[in-house]
């Protein structure tokens, strides 16, 4: 996800065109990541409301997805497939049948789970009309991804600013208007099914040819690249300024969780303590993505900005690198 966003930013800066097959493979991997992320989330949400059977079942269904990732890339989670200019490995024609068979299994099981959870009244009782964020609030707080789409805001980078192969295979934006946790559950489950559809189409439509652009020259320095990717949790933006020796001069990543967390105060207002964990959980937070660092002098209240050299020095001191 992030590696795709970063590579796209550098490719934009250096004006590299990725071959079609490379873009299709990226799309397949992005959607595989979406499936496993949504299933993982479903399990954790189940655990939060005390439904551990959902946790175990969701993760059992997730396992073949991890298997697929390993089959294609050699890794289960951090796929390590993206390079500036394309992808590292091809998906050979021989394993297509096997991949499609596993996908069919995932599709079937996801539908079964969707069926099971939508008919469970106790689950519905815990999620309906809980953790509401109105469409107006969602816009005002710039909520992203499934959290916004469950409040009726049909924003999706894959459709609004298509990248990889999304323009060719298309993507249906799943929007629910319930504005509550229940809608977020439904949005994510439907997106999972949509992701299976996209992967199938990609495998069918994938053109033959190279998977990697010919990157022979050094990346020119001082260029600017900005790319956006629809991560499972929402929009991810990467901003790059290229530097000397094909190294980045500046790089800034913006993950969706920090933005989504702004919705928490609205969500928990007037709710029970028991609804706070599931409210927070319903936006699929990633707390490591929200880490920020700032030094404030408590006496004067002044914020200090560190220069690059100072930061390097601090880092070296911290890890005793000389």
């Amino acid at each position: 996800m992030h590696s795709t966003a970063y590579c796209q930013a550098v490719e934009q800066a250096a004006e590299i065109t990725v071959p079609a097959r490379g873009r299709y493979i990226r799309t397949i991997l992005l959607e595989l990541e979406r499936i496993q992320s949504h299933l993982l989330w479903l399990g954790i949400a189940g655990h939060i409301i005390g439904f551990d059977t959902v946790l175990m079942q969701a993760w059992r269904i997730r396992e073949p997805v991890m298997w697929l990732c390993e089959k294609i890339t050699g890794n289960r989670k951090l796929l390590g497939m993206n390079l500036v200019g394309g992808v590292r490995r091809d998906i050979p024609q021989e394993i297509h049948a096997e991949l499609l068979q596993v996908l069919a299994g995932i599709d079937k099981e996801c539908k079964k789970v969707l069926d099971a959870i939508t008919t469970d009244t106790t689950l519905f009782m815990r999620c309906e009309n809980v953790g509401r964020i109105s469409a107006a609030d969602a816009v005002a707080l710039s909520l992203l991804g499934p959290t916004a789409r469950a409040s009726g805001i049909g924003r999706d980078i894959r459709v609004d600013h298509p990248y990889a192969a999304y323009a060719e295979v298309g993507c249906q934006v799943i929007v629910e208007t319930g504005e509550d946790i229940w809608s977020r559950v439904v949005v994510r489950m439907k997106e999972t099914l949509e992701a299976v559809r996209i992967i199938r189409d990609c495998l069918a439509l994938m053109p033959k040819g190279s998977i990697m652009a010919d990157v022979t020259d050094r990346i020119p320095a001082g260029r600017i690249g900005l790319s956006s990717v629809e991560a499972p949790r929402g929009e991810t933006h990467h901003f790059v300024i290229t530097g000397e020796d094909s190294r980045p001069y500046r790089w800034k990543a913006r993950a969706p969780t920090f933005q989504n967390l702004q919705g928490i105060p609205v969500m928990v207002q007037g709710e029970n303590i028991a609804d706070v964990p599931i409210g927070l959980g319903s936006m699929d937070p990633c707390f490591s993505c929200t880490e920020r660092w700032e030094t404030v002098d408590l006496r004067s209240g002044r914020v200090r900005v560190y220069s690059k050299a100072e930061l390097q020095e601090l880092c070296r001191k911290r890890y005793s690198i000389r």
Binding site: I49, G50, D52, Q57, R60, D120, N272, I273, I278
Partner: protein, 349 residues
């Protein structure tokens, strides 16, 4: 000693030891069964490393608890903090003393009842003890002097007090039919048949009372879907957050023993106790006694499995939903049940 001789005392002590030993044995089986059944429902393997099929897992757990570091946080109210786990375990064990678990037989020239104490006020005694168990939870939460246990203790007190009311009301129908608080008479009433085909169990004559009792007993024993005093996403561990080592294990054991006694009580009150339907146990001699014991074990085992089954198939309720269910659904239904039973007794000869 109350006109008792040595043989009487020996028999009584044997029964006491037997009940405690069997209770702890079932506790160990339950501890393993909980994990194996949940693993089965969730498509996992479950603990299977310690001993054949993981049978020694409870022993390993017990040893682990004994050797865990005993931590008493500095801010606790010491006396109550130490007393609370015992207040959960002991009443739960005591409850079993009035439950008849088999047919009586004669040996050593006297009648031996398979029940430790056949109290005239058996049911009231049980409710008194069940109410005591609440103190363990509440005091445990309060004595820890920390916010999550306190919230857990508060939840426990309001939840258990509300549901005790429903439990108490739900069995009044049974008492009206039987006309006695003595549990052996409750069982005796249920032998025989109803409309010549059904056994005369209270589950058939008091189905509504049975359902209310069953649902309320989930809340009473702190089991999911009503395990609000110890929800881990909101309250860390609830009332036992600050407990470690054997003190935590005692809470844990108390919970399971309460589960066993509740199942036994459900069996006694609604499923005919040790009665085997369509069979006259008294005519079978000593085989009849064994049969009655087996029947009691099977029925209690069924309820124990039901408790496991429900735990892994339902999500947790929210507190307001729990209170709503208790006060606005179960309690009125229990009162309707009492009125209906009264009307039936008035109209029927």
């Amino acid at each position: 000693m109350f006109g008792m001789d040595w043989i009487d005392l020996g028999i009584l002590l044997t029964k006491v030891m037997l009940v405690i030993a069997v209770n702890f044995l079932i506790l160990m089986i339950m501890e393993l069964a909980e994990r194996r059944v949940s693993a089965f429902m969730q498509d996992r393997v479950g603990p299977n490393r310690v001993g054949p099929f993981g049978l020694l897992q409870p022993v390993a757990d017990g040893i682990k608890f004994l050797f865990k570091e005993e931590i008493t946080p500095s801010q606790v109210e010491r006396t109550l903090y130490w007393l609370a786990p015992a207040l959960v375990l002991v009443p739960a064990l005591l409850t079993f003393s009035v439950i008849p678990f088999g047919m009586s037989f004669s040996a050593f020239g006297r009648e031996i009842t398979l029940q430790i104490a056949d109290l005239q006020v058996g049911l009231l005694f049980i409710f008194a003890l069940v109410s005591l168990a609440v103190y363990g939870t509440v005091l445990g939460g309060w004595a820890a002097n920390s916010k999550y246990p306190l919230l857990g203790g508060l939840r426990a007190s309001s939840q258990m007090i509300s549901y005790e009311l429903s439990i108490g009301m739900s069995i009044i129908g049974v008492l009206m039919l039987v006309g006695s608080l003595r549990l052996s008479e409750v069982v005796a009433y249920q032998t025989g048949s109803l409309f010549t085909i059904l056994p005369r169990w209270n589950i058939f004559t008091q189905p509504l009372g049975f359902l209310i009792f069953l649902i309320a007993s989930f809340a009473e024993t702190n089991r999911l879907p009503f395990d609000l005093p110890e929800t881990e996403p909101e309250l860390v561990g609830g009332y036992h957050t600050e407990y470690s080592s054997m003190k935590f294990a005692m809470f844990f054991m108390g919970e399971y023993i309460a589960l066993i006694t509740t199942s036994a009580l459900l069996t006694t009150l609604f499923l005919g106790g040790w009665d085997v339907p369509w069979v006259d146990e008294a005519a079978l001699g000593s085989w009849g006694v064994l049969l009655s014991l087996a029947a009691f074990a099977v029925k209690t085992g069924f309820f124990l499995f039901l408790f496991l089954w429900v735990r892994w198939t339902l999500p947790r309720f929210r507190f307001d939903q729990l209170m709503h269910l208790g006060w606005k659904v179960l309690l009125p239904l229990a009162i309707v049940n009492i009125l209906a039973t009264g009307l039936f007794l008035y109209l029927a000869p």
